[in-house]
């Protein structure tokens, strides 16, 4: 039994890294723009399709392909923010952005169906099915690489937010958009760039999703969004590190429940969210005045 528990913990940590890559963009966008991007699930799937296109058509390695898909998704994110999110004003802005991001999800899904069709695809490379034996456990390279990438990405975003002039602008906008504008920060530019970065990092999550999920098609994003929302709420809305911590916590908990009662694993996932929020309403790392940390 001890071995099963260790295996479940290892699995949970590694799978948590994959979910962190998918959730980080969502929490970053919420932190700055105060909107829940319902399109996050389909953006993950889009990232998977972009990696698939590069691997299948141009034989570009999945991780090398991120050098292309991340900038491409950044441009897409900026374009989405500029075209659909920025024009929304007034008191109904938050609720309207829910509808608009849902519409964006439907548009992207439709385009993917038109281009790629409904057939299931997956991403493959030597490290997707290979593993290394450590302390008696086979650890798949794809999860190890993905977890390292998640940690590096979270650190990079931390440096961006806390060690750069742009990061100060982002944090100022998070705290008080009006005050930020009064001191000369171009909050529209900050919002567009932040949305772009949030979508860009999702390209990495999409690649990992496509390589570990057994397969995906344009419809695969809907199952994701509820889990990603649960993760960023538990981590603390807007908290980059919180997204990683919550991903690891939730997926480890689920893996442990899988050992005894897997039919309850999904329920426990959300029950844990409710329980933690009862004790700490702002999540692991959420703080009302300054959400990103």
């Amino acid at each position: 039994m001890a071995r099963e528990i260790y295996q479940a913990i290892v699995d949970g940590i590694l799978i948590g890294g994959v979910y962190a890559l998918m959730a980080v963009g969502l929490t970053l966008i919420f932190g700055v723009l105060d909107i829940i991007n319902i399109a996050q699930g389909i953006l993950v799937v889009l990232g998977a399709y972009l990696s698939y296109g590069l691997a299948a058509r141009l034989h570009i390695d999945l991780f090398v392909g991120l050098l292309i898909t991340v900038p491409a998704m950044f441009v897409l994110g900026v374009a989405i923010q500029w075209s659909f999110i920025r024009p929304l004003r007034g008191r109904e802005r938050t609720s309207m952005t829910l509808l608009v991001s849902y519409a964006i999800a439907l548009i992207i899904e439709g385009i993917l169906y038109e281009i790629a069709g409904p057939d299931v695809r997956n991403l493959n490379a030597w490290y997707v099915t290979s593993s290394i034996r450590i302390f008696g456990f086979y650890l798949a390279y794809i999860y190890l690489f993905g977890f390292v990438m998640a940690v590096v990405l979270v650190l990079a975003l931390y440096v961006l937010l806390y060690r750069t002039r742009f990061g100060r602008s982002v944090r100022a906008t998070m705290q008080d958009e009006t005050a930020a504008r009064l001191v000369g920060i171009d909050t529209n530019r900050v919002a567009a760039l932040t949305f772009g970065i949030g979508v860009a990092v999702t390209a990495a999550g999409g690649m990992m999703f496509g390589a570990t999920n057994g397969g995906f098609n344009p419809n695969s994003g809907y199952d994701l969004i509820s889990r990603l929302l649960a993760i960023i709420i538990l981590g603390g809305l807007g908290s980059i590190g919180g997204a990683l911590a919550a991903s690891v916590f939730m997926l480890t908990l689920q893996s442990l429940v899988d050992i005894w009662q897997p039919q309850w694993a999904t329920a426990v996932f959300y029950a844990a969210l409710v329980l933690v929020l009862l004790i700490r309403p702002t999540g692991f790392f959420g703080r009302a005045p300054v959400r990103a940390q």
């Binding site: 099963e4 699995d11 949970g12 799978i15 299931v120 997956n122 290979s130 570990t212 999920n213 997926l251």
Partner: protein, 214 residues
């Protein structure tokens, strides 16, 4: 029944369909070292996720039977790879080699139009086509599209025809006349009927699944 034959169950769990990731449960199955895996999969990604996790764990069961996924023809092969598909088994009522003239005509026309080989043809194609055939016969017999008449007709103990063979609905709406086979992907990218072993069209079963080939 299997227990009476000396088969010992070493792992049996029920998973919700909306499970986030199949790696953790698949790793547990691999750790059990079961010689036969029977997976109640619902689609290609589910069975592909288990296959991927098994390969990562260097575990190949002797027999791997999935409830759905391997019957999806080219869609299955493209996701799991042709080498890994060999030995994968699935129960179903139809396969592209089904020796019914109407079925063979369907497969020929499908391959002529969309390319590929007969083994690439997804079982969903025949199932969807059969639905159309049954509806057509019901509409012709009742003289219209009145739902109540069609329902009464279909539950009236009539035997209809389809590319999947005879169709006769019982009181629960199940097709009591359908055949049940087990199919297996075999060397050469062919999808063969293997059980019942004595039935017409059945090929010898690959009793030990080859190691993963990714």
């Amino acid at each position: 029944m299997l227990s009476a034959l000396g088969v010992k169950t070493v792992y049996s769990k029920i998973f919700p369909e909306e499970v986030a990731d199949y790696k953790a449960p698949a790793d547990q199955v691999a750790a059990s070292g079961a010689q036969i895996v029977v997976l109640g999969s619902t689609d290609v990604p589910t069975v592909a996720a288990f296959m991927q996790a098994f390969e990562q764990q260097h575990y190949t069961p002797k027999l791997f039977i999935a409830a759905a996924g391997p019957d999806q023809g080219a869609a299955f092969l493209s996701v799991v790879g042709k080498g890994n598909a060999i030995g994968m088994m699935v129960p179903d009522g139809w396969y592209p080699g089904y020796a019914l003239p109407a079925s063979q005509a369907l497969v020929s026309e499908y391959v002529a139009k969309y390319g590929g080989t007969p083994s690439d043809v997804n079982a969903d194609i025949a199932e969807a086509y059969s639905v159309g055939q049954v509806m057509e016969q019901a509409i012709v017999a009742t003289g219209g599209t009145d739902n109540a008449k069609i329902i009464a007709y279909l539950h009236g103990n009539v035997t209809l025809t389809s590319v999947q063979g005879p169709v006769k609905f019982d009181s629960l709406g199940e097709n009591g006349a359908s055949a049940a086979f087990v199919f297996q992907w075999q060397t050469g990218d062919v999808f063969n009927q293997v059980l019942p072993s004595g039935a017409a069209g059945s090929k010898p079963i690959i009793a030990t699944k080859p190691a993963w080939t990714s």
